[in-house]
Symmetry: C2
Subunit: 339 residues, 2 copies
DNA sequence: GGCCTGTAGTAAAACGTTTTAGCATGTTTC
DNA sequence: GAAACATGCTAAAACGTTTTACTACAGGCC
C-alpha cells in the first residue's frame, strides 16, 4: 500500500527518476528528453495511476497547493455558502482548502494563522478579527499571498474582497425612508472593523441626506459574543426605549434573526408597526411572515473574486494588491412596507 | 523567512539534530539524553519558537495530522454546523481538517477521495454517496482509518456515526397521528441510502402500528439534484394529488423548506389544514409562522462521536470498528397542531 | 586529430524530519 | 585486567520529490 513513486516508474521505463520528473512536469522539451522516452513514461505513469506525493513535492518546492481559509463562523450561513464557492473555485486551480473559524476572537485567529503557517499553506484568505493587523503585516512582509475578505484594514495595503457595506446600509435606510418610516434605528455589533463601521456610516448618511434627525439613541451596538438569549433581551430593551420608533435596520444576519424573534415576542407587527430590514439573505427572511427585506450579498461573485485575486498573488508575486468592492442588492420584501 | 529547523537548534545547542529530535519528541528519557542537554534544547526551541515542518515530518512518518471531511453540502446548515464541531474536536487532538462537498454525486466523491488520498490524510470522515461502497472497501483494505457519517453501508463493516433515523421518522409520524391527523404523506428523496430508507421505514411502521392504511400514493420521492423551483413544482403537484391529505412529513431540511414554500403558495394553512413536520432544526423552523415541528439531530454529540471514533481508529489500528447511533429529539411546535 | 556544438540523458544534492545502528567513554564485575 | 554493561550522544539513511550540474556520445568543421 505504499503508493507509486517516481522511482517505480523510472525502473519500469529503464530511465532515471530525473527523467521521469522532467517528463511528468512538462519539461520534456526544455530538458531534451526524446519523444519516445517521453511517451513511454507518460504511458507507464498513467497505467500505474501515479500521483505525486504532495508532501515530498511540498518539501522540495515549498509549495503545498493548499490555501488557508479563515472565516468568522463556518456555521453561519453566509460564511458556509462562501466557503463552498471558495472550495469549488480553488479546486479549479488545483488547490485544496484548510479552514477554521475565529468566532471573531483574535487569539483564536492567531492560533489558526500559526497552524496554517506551519502547515505551509501557499496562501491565505482571511476574515480578520479586530487586532489582527500586526499578523497580517507579518504575513505580508514574509511575502505570503493573502486576501482579506468581508472586512479589511484601511491602514494596510493588502488585497481584499468586500461588499460595499456603506451602499448596502445606505440603500436599506433610504428604502425605509421612502416607504414612509420616520424614526429609524440601527442594531449593530460593537465593532470598529470596516464592515460594521461602513454599515453604520451608510445608515447615518442616509438619514442625514434625507434630513431625518439623527442621534446616538438610534444606535444600539451589541457585543458580538452574546448568546441568543442575551441578544434578544438587549434588543427588546433597546427597541422599547426609543420613543416613536417605527423602523429598524439590523446590520448582520444573526442580528436580523434575533431581531425578528425579539420584535415578535414584543407582540409588534412587523412592517405595519415596525419596519425591518436585515443583512444577508436567508431562507428565514424569504419565508418569514411577513417576508423580510434585506441587503443581499453576491456570494458567488465574492467567492470567485477572492480566489481570483489570491491566484493572482500566488502566480505573480510582487504584483500590486487588488481591492474588489462588490455591490449589494436590496431585496425588497414585506417587512419594509406598511400596507 | 526560511523558518527555524531542527538544525538551527542543534547548532545553537552544540549538539546533533538527532538529539534535538529525540528531546523534542519526548524521547529524552528513553534515548538517555541528559537533563542538562534536554533542558537546554527545550529552552532554545522555545526561544526560537520552533515549529516542526509538517511536510518533512509527514514525509518521514507517513502521518500528516490531517483528516479529510467529506460532506454532502457544506452550505447546508446541518453539515456546516457539524463541520464546525468536527473542526473544533479534531483540533483538540492536533488534527486539521480538509473538506469537500459531494453534492451527493458519486463522481465528485471519488474525486475528493482521490485528492485526499494523495494529500496523505491520516483518516477520513465520509458522508458516502450511493455507489461509494467500493471505494470505502478499498480504503479499508488499505487499513485507512475512516468513519462514515449521516448514513452507512449495511453490507460493510465500518465505523459510523448516524442518527436513529428510523426513530426520528417514527416519532414524527406517531406524533402527527396522536395530534389527530388521519392521512399523512411523506416527501422524501429518491435514495436507497440508509438515512432515507430508515426515515421512510419509520414513517411506514408508525402508520402500520397505528392501523392507519398505507399505500404507495402517500410517498413522494424526489430527485436530490432538483433546483428549488422544481422541488416546489413537484411538491405542489404531489400534495394536490393525494385525496384528503391532512399532514405531511418532509424527510430532509431542504425538503421541509421547499415544503413550507409550496404549501404556502397553495394557500393552505399549515397546522390547521395540513400538519407538517420537518427534519433537522433550523432558524426558519423555529421562527416560521406557524413554527415548524421537526426532528432535531444532536449535532454537537454527533460531531464529538465522529471525531472520537476516528481518533480511536487512528490510535488503535486494527481495533474493531464502532457503530454509534444517536437518538433524535422531536421538537414539537405549532405546525403539527390543529388548534 | 582536436575542437566545437548539440542531443539525450543522469548523479547527486537538497528540502526537514525521524529512526536505526553504533561509537566513545566510564564503571562494574569477577 | 579483561569482559560486560551503562551512559550519552551522533552519523547516516530514509521518506519522494525537484533541480543543478554534469557526462557521454555523435556529428560537423578546420
Amino acid at each position: 500500500m505504499k503508493g507509486i513513486s517516481i522511482k517505480d516508474i523510472a525502473k519500469q521505463a529503464g530511465v532515471s527518476p530525473t527523467t521521469v520528473s522532467f517528463v511528468l512536469n512538462g519539461k520534456a522539451k526544455e530538458k531534451r528528453i526524446s519523444e519516445q522516452v517521453s511517451k513511454k513514461i507518460q504511458k507507464i505513469a498513467a497505467r500505474l495511476k501515479y500521483k505525486p506525493n504532495q508532501l515530498a513535492r511540498g518539501l522540495r518546492t515549498g509549495k503545498t497547493k493548499t490555501i488557508g481559509l479563515i472565516v468568522e463562523d463556518i456555521a453561519n450561513n453566509f460564511f458556509a455558502s462562501l466557503a463552498k464557492v471558495v472550495e469549488d473555485e480553488a479546486d479549479k486551480y488545483g488547490y485544496k482548502v484548510l479552514y477554521g473559524s475565529t468566532e471573531d476572537n483574535t487569539e483564536k485567529a492567531k492560533g489558526l494563522l500559526e497552524v496554517l503557517k506551519y502547515r505551509q499553506v501557499d496562501g491565505y484568505i482571511i476574515t480578520p478579527t479586530k487586532n489582527l493587523d500586526k499578523e497580517i503585516e507579518l504575513l505580508q512582509s514574509a511575502s505570503k499571498p493573502l486576501v482579506l475578505m468581508d472586512r479589511y484594514f484601511p491602514h494596510i495595503n493588502s488585497s481584499y474582497v468586500v461588499l460595499n457595506n456603506y451602499k448596502g446600509a445606505y440603500d436599506a435606510t433610504t428604502h425605509l425612508i421612502a416607504q414612509g418610516y420616520k424614526k429609524i434605528a440601527i442594531v449593530t455589533i460593537a465593532s470598529e472593523q470596516t464592515q460594521m463601521k461602513d454599515r453604520l456610516d451608510g445608515f447615518v448618511a442616509a438619514l442625514k441626506e434625507h434630513k431625518i434627525p439623527f442621534n446616538k439613541s438610534l444606535v444600539k451596538r451589541l457585543a458580538f459574543d452574546l448568546d441568543r438569549e442575551s441578544f434578544n433581551t438587549e434588543i427588546k430593551k433597546f427597541l422599547t426605549t426609543v420613543k416613536d420608533l417605527d423602523a429598524v435596520f439590523f446590520a448582520t444576519n444573526y442580528l436580523g434573526i434575533a431581531g425578528i424573534e425579539s420584535i415578535r415576542s414584543l407582540g409588534w407587527e412587523i412592517g405595519k408597526e415596525i419596519g425591518l430590514v436585515g443583512f444577508d439573505d436567508h431562507d428565514l427572511f424569504r419565508l418569514h411572515s411577513p417576508s423580510i427585506t434585506c441587503v443581499s450579498q453576491p456570494i458567488a461573485s465574492i467567492g470567485k473574486n477572492i480566489v481570483e485575486v489570491l491566484m493572482n498573488e500566488l502566480n505573480h508575486p510582487g504584483s500590486p494588491s487588488r481591492q474588489v468592492v462588490l455591490a449589494p442588492e436590496l431585496v425588497v420584501r414585506a417587512s419594509s412596507s406598511r400596507t
